[in-house]
Structure formats: structure tokens, C-alpha cells
Symmetry: C2
Subunit: 82 residues, 2 copies
């Protein structure tokens, strides 16, 4: 119950992938040095990537971390505080 829940991270990867030459998950995965499943999972929001992978993505899409990832800070203070 009420895990850590700091916030929600979303990303523009799928979007960027289409903008960038209709790139396929497979191709992106190869360019990144990860597997296709990893891309799929990240796009699906199952988990968010490591900083390393995140940075590689900015390299490929020629963008910035702050443009590629969005952070929705958590406001629901369910648990205990200070």
C-alpha cells in the first residue's frame, strides 16, 4: 500500500520515432543498443529507462531530456510526512 509514488513519467519516444523517418522499434533498439522489448515496454509506460538509455535517446532524436520526458509530480500525500 502507498508505495513510493513520487510522480508519473511520460515520454515522447513513440512520437519522435515516427517523426524521425518512421523509425521502427527494431531499428531504434539497435541504434540504442537495447532490445526491441525494452523499447516496447518503455513506450508502453511499463517502466522508465535508465538515465543512460535516456541520454542515448536524446542523442538519436537530437533533442533534450526535458523535451523527451515529462514529469508529473505527485501531489496525493497518502502516507505519512515529516
Amino acid at each position: 500500500m502507498s508505495k513510493k509514488a513520487k510522480g508519473i513519467i511520460s515520454n515522447q519516444i513513440r512520437k519522435k520515432r515516427f517523426e524521425k523517418d518512421e523509425m521502427t522499434q527494431q531499428e531504434l533498439a539497435k541504434a540504442l543498443g537495447v532490445t526491441r522489448q525494452t523499447i516496447a515496454a518503455i513506450e508502453a509506460g511499463k517502466y522508465s529507462p535508465s538515465l543512460e538509455v535516456a541520454f542515448c535517446l536524446t542523442d538519436i532524436f537530437e533533442t533534450s531530456l526535458d523535451e523527451l520526458f515529462q514529469w508529473q509530480a505527485d501531489t496525493s500525500q497518502t502516507g505519512e510526512d515529516s
Copy 2:
């Protein structure tokens, strides 16, 4: 040999911590919801944080990911390519 080595990530956490009211590792850790050892390890460059922790940091220091973390892309193509 020649692991994955995409690049090197450095950060301004320690710097920001002093700028921000001489904040201690302990305090930062608490504000972040992680342990003191985690802060120490990240500052020492033993590993880089998850995107979640990274975003929390930008929240606390009122800065951006791109200002807090630096990415030195790897140029030494030791292994095989395409």
C-alpha cells in the same frame, strides 16, 4: 571485453547541494525519499540515478535535467558495428 560503454554521465548534485543552503546529504536524501548512501554513491559517480530520482532532484533544486546531468557521448568504437 568492451561492455556497452555508451558514454559517461556526470552531475552537479554536490554543487547544487552547497548552493542550496548548504544542504546535507542526509537532508537531501530525506527530501528525495532515498537513503544517504544513495546520494553519496551518485555524487561519487558509482552509478547514475533512475529517471525518477533524477526528476525528483530537479524538483528540489528547481532546475532541469539537462542542467543537472551531463552526458559525454562515447566516441571510442572499440567493438564491432553494424
